[in-house]
Amino acid sequence: MSKLVVATTSLAGCFGCHMSLLDIDERILDLIELVEFNKSPINDIKTFTKQCDIGLIEGGCCNSENIHVLKDFRKNCKILVSLGECAIMGGLPALRNGIPIEECLAEAYLDGPTVKGNIHKILPNDKELPMLLDKVYPCHEVVKIDYYLPGCPPRADLIWDVLVALVTGDEMKLPYEVVKFD
C-alpha cells in the first residue's frame, strides 16, 4: 500500500492543535511509516508539491491569507479535517465577532493601553499584508469540510486515531468524553 499523503496548516489558531499532534510522542515514528507529510509547518514545506490525501486544518479564517490557504488546501487535498475548536467554530479569535472591526483595529493600533509611540496614528495598510475579514469564519463556511475533530486541542490520541482511521478506512469511535467540550 502506498503511503497516504498528509498536509497540515495553522490558520487563525494558536498552534496548540499542532502541538497536540506532536504529543503522539514516539508514535510519530509509526506515523511516518503510515503517511508522508507534504505542505506542513512540521516539515516546513511551504507549498504543495503533489496532490494530497488528507489536509488537517487548525484555526478558523480571520484574514484573506487564511482564505487563500484554505482554498488551496481544498484544491490539493481529497479529504479536509477541521481540527479543533477554532477550525470548527472560530474559537477564541471569534470572540471579536461581536465587536465592530473598527473598534478592534483602533484598540490594537490607536487607543489601546499598550499602544505606545504610534504618534502618526498609522494603521497597517501595506498591500503586502493580509486583509482582515469582517469576522472570524469557521472553515466549513468557506470550503467543504469532510470531518470535524472537536477539542481545544483535540488530544493526541484522538488525532492519532483519526489518522489511523483515515489510513485504514475503519470507522472511528467518538465517545461522549471527547465531544463534550464543545
Partner: protein, 598 residues
C-alpha cells in the same frame, strides 16, 4: 430624588421582591427608566445596580430611553402579517416619517414592534399606551396619528365603539371583540359566582382534591399535567406557607382564549384560585397577567374588590372560621418565556424570567422557595364547574384519556376566527368546517411550539392521545407561502424570546434560521434539509419547554411538507458557501485606508 420615584418605592415598602411592580410603575409614570432611577432604586432597596439592570434589561416593555407620549407597539406575528400588518406598518412610517424602533415628533410618538399580543382573531392590532387597537387599516392609522398629534387620550381615539361583553365596562373601555363562537360546559353561564366556594367549605380540602382527581382534568396550559395530582403533591409538602398562581401569561402566538375568559368569567377564575388555595392550604394567590392585558387590570382588581365585599375573598371566607385567602395581580412586562412556570415565579420575585432547573418542582419549592401550584386560567375556571356540577358529570364529557372540553383559539384563513369550546375528541376536519375554512393548506396546532400539519392529518382529533394542544389553531390557506411567511416568522419569535441560558436554545434556532433562509433564497442544497432535521433534535436537551420545542416549526414542516423544501434546493450540489471575500474585507480596508487586492 425624584418624588415620583420615592413614592413608588414606598408604595411597595422597599421590597426587592416587588421590583417588577416598581419598574412597571416607573415605566408608566416616567415614560422610561433612567440610570439615575436605577441607582436610586438600588440604593433604597439595598441591592446592587446590576441586580436592577438585569431585571430591567430582560423585559421587552421596559426601556431606558423615552418612548414617546404615545407609545405604539404593533404586533408582527404571522397572522398579523397575513391580515395586512405590513401595509399598516408602512402607513405608520409614512405618516410619521420615521421608522419602527424610533421616537419621533419631539418625543410625541414612539413606534415599536412586538410579538403576539393575544388578538389573533382581530389583526392587525397594536397597543397604544397599553390600550388595544384592533383591525387596523392604513386609513385608521392616518386617523390615529392625527388624533395623537391633536393630543387626544387613547379612549377618545376610539371610533369603532367598544367591543362586546365586559369590554364595554367603564373599567375596560376597549374595542376588543370577544368572538365567542361556541359555548360549552365551561363558558355556559349556568352557575352563580361563589356557589362553588360555598360548596367546598362544607367538605375537607382532601375531599376537594379527590373530586378534582376524579374528574380527570389535566392542565390546560399545554403540558397536560393532572390537576388533582398537582394539588395533592403540593398539599403533601412539609412547608406550610404555600401559594397558588394563575398563569395568565398567554404568550403562545395564536392563543387568546384566556383573554376572553379573563374578560367574561373573571369571577370564575378567581373562584378557581380560592378552591385551589383551600385544597392545597395556601393563604395567598397571585394572578400573573401578561403586560399586553394591562387594559384589563382595573376591571380585574374591581372584581377582586367585590369578591372581598361578598366574603368570597379575605378572612373567614364563606363563613368558614380560619379560611383566609386573598389574591393579588402581578403584571409581566413582555416575555413569552415567563409563561413557563418556574420563569413565572422568578419574574414574580422581581428577577429575570429565566426558568429554573427542575426538579425541585414548584410544588416542592416555588415562589419564595415555598410549595407553589401554578395553573392555567382555563384549568382554574374549569375546576369551578367541576365542583359545582360534579366530577361524574365532567368526566363523562370528552374522551377517555381527555375528559371535558377545551377552549380553542382559532385564527388565520377562516370566516369566523374566535374562541370555540369543544369537547375533546373533536377532529380537525370538523373544526375547519365549523369555522368556515376552505382550501386549507395547513393548520398550526398548538402555536409555534406545536405542529404544522397538512390535509393528510386533518382526520386526527384534538386529545392528549392524538393532537395535544393548549388550544391555539392557526389556519393557512392555499395562497400562503408556508416556509417564508410561517416557519421563518416562528423561528424569529423563538430567537427573540429565548432567555439565553442554554446554548442549545440560544444558538441552534439561529443556525437553523440561517439555513432556512438560504433555502428560501434558492441557495440551499439537499444536505441542508437533512442537517436541519438532524440538528433540530439537539435543542430537545434544553432546560425548559421553549428550547425543547423551538425547532418544531422546522421539524414538523419538513416532516409534513418536505416537498416545499425539496422544490427549492439544488439537488446536485453537495456544498455551497455564502462567503464572499471582497465583501468580507471591505470594512477593514476602508478603515485602514487601502484598496482591497483580492
Amino acid at each position: 430624588m425624584n418624588s415620583t420615584v420615592q413614592q413608588i418605592i414606598n408604595t411597595y415598602k422597599k421590597d426587592r421582591f416587588r421590583l417588577m411592580d416598581m419598574l412597571i410603575d416607573f415605566q408608566e409614570e416616567l415614560g422610561f427608566i433612567s440610570k439615575e432611577t436605577v441607582k436610586d432604586l438600588a440604593d433604597q432597596l439595598d441591592i446592587s445596580t446590576v441586580d436592577v439592570e438585569q431585571t430591567l434589561s430582560f423585559y421587552h416593555f421596559f426601556t431606558t430611553e423615552p418612548t414617546g407620549k404615545y407609545t405604539v407597539y404593533l404586533n408582527d406575528s404571522v397572522v398579523a402579517k397575513m391580515m395586512g400588518q405590513e401595509e399598516v406598518a408602512k402607513a405608520f412610517e409614512e405618516e410619521l416619517g420615521c421608522n419602527f424602533g424610533q421616537v419621533c415628533e419631539d418625543n410625541l410618538i414612539g413606534l415599536f414592534a412586538t410579538s403576539d399580543i393575544g388578538m389573533n382573531d382581530q389583526e392587525p392590532a397594536a397597543l397604544i399606551n397599553n390600550v388595544p387597537f384592533t383591525k387596523l387599516t392604513p386609513f385608521r392609522v392616518r386617523e390615529l396619528v392625527a388624533d395623537m398629534r391633536a393630543g387626544k387620550t387613547v379612549y377618545e381615539m376610539y371610533t369603532e365603539g367598544y367591543g362586546g361583553g365586559n369590554n364595554k365596562s367603564v373599567l375596560v373601555r376597549s374595542m376588543v371583540a370577544n368572538h365567542i363562537r361556541r359555548i360549552g360546559p365551561v363558558l355556559l353561564n349556568d352557575c352563580s359566582p361563589g356557589d362553588a366556594i360555598k360548596k367546598i367549605v362544607q367538605i375537607t380540602p382532601e375531599a376537594v382534591i379527590e373530586e378534582v382527581k376524579a374528574s380527570k382534568i389535566r392542565g390546560r396550559g399545554g403540558a397536560g399535567f393532572p390537576t388533582g395530582l398537582k394539588w395533592e403533591f403540593c398539599r403533601a409538602a412539609v412547608e406550610k406557607e404555600r401559594y397558588i398562581f394563575c398563569n395568565a401569561d398567554e404568550g403562545e402566538p395564536g392563543t387568546f382564549k384566556d383573554r376572553v375568559l379573563l374578560t367574561e368569567c373573571p369571577e370564575m377564575i378567581f373562584e378557581g384560585m380560592v378552591i385551589g388555595g383551600y385544597a392545597i392550604g395556601a393563604k395567598k394567590g397571585i394572578l400573573y397577567l401578561r403586560y399586553e392585558y394591562k387594559y384589563l387590570g382595573k376591571f380585574l382588581n374591581d372584581v377582586l374588590f367585590r369578591m372581598r365585599g361578598n366574603n368570597l375573598l379575605g378572612e373567614n371566607i364563606a363563613g368558614l372560621e380560619g379560611f383566609n385567602f386573598d389574591i393579588r395581580i402581578q403584571f409581566g412586562a413582555g416575555a413569552y418565556v415567563c409563561g413557563e412556570e418556574s420563569a413565572l415565579i422568578e419574574s414574580t420575585e422581581g428577577k429575570r424570567g429565566e426558568p429554573r432547573d427542575r426538579p425541585p418542582f414548584p410544588v416542592e419549592r416555588g415562589y419564595l422557595d415555598k410549595p407553589t401550584v401554578i395553573n392555567n386560567v382555563e384549568t382554574l375556571a374549569t375546576v369551578v364547574k367541576i365542583i359545582n356540577k360534579g366530577s361524574e358529570w365532567y368526566s363523562a364529557l370528552g374522551t377517555n384519556d381527555s375528559t371535558g372540553s377545551k377552549l380553542l383559539s382559532i385564527s388565520g384563513d377562516c370566516r369566523f376566527p374566535g374562541v370555540y369550546e369543544v369537547e375533546w375528541g373533536f377532529s380537525i376536519d370538523d373544526m375547519l368546517g365549523m369555522v368556515g375554512a376552505t382550501e386549507v393548506q395547513a393548520v398550526q396546532v398548538g402555536g409555534p411550539s406545536g405542529a404544522l400539519i397538512g390535509p393528510d392529518e386533518f382526520s386526527r382529533t384534538i386529545s392528549y392521545a392524538d393532537l395535544a394542544t393548549g388550544g391555539a389553531m392557526i389556519i393557512f390557506g392555499e395562497q400562503r407561502d408556508l416556509l417564508k411567511d410561517v416557519v421563518l416568522n416562528f423561528m424569529d419569535f423563538f430567537i427573540e424570546e429565548s432567555c439565553g441560558s442554554c446554548s442549545t436554545c440560544r444558538n441552534f434556532p439561529v443556525i437553523l434560521r440561517r439555513t432556512l433562509k438560504r433555502i428560501i433564497d434558492g441557495k440551499g442544497i439537499r444536505k441542508d434539509i437533512d442537517d436541519m432535521e438532524e440538528w433540530g433534535q439537539i435543542p430537545r436537551v434544553s432546560r425548559c419547554g421553549l428550547g425543547q420545542t423551538c425547532t418544531n416549526p422546522i421539524l414538523t414542516s419538513i416532516k409534513n411538507f418536505r416537498h416545499l423544501y425539496e422544490d427549492l434546493v439544488d439537488k446536485d450540489e453537495d456544498y455551497v458557501s455564502e462567503f464572499d471575500l471582497s465583501t468580507a474585507v471591505q470594512e477593514s480596508c476602508d478603515f485602514v485606508g487601502r484598496i482591497p487586492n483580492i
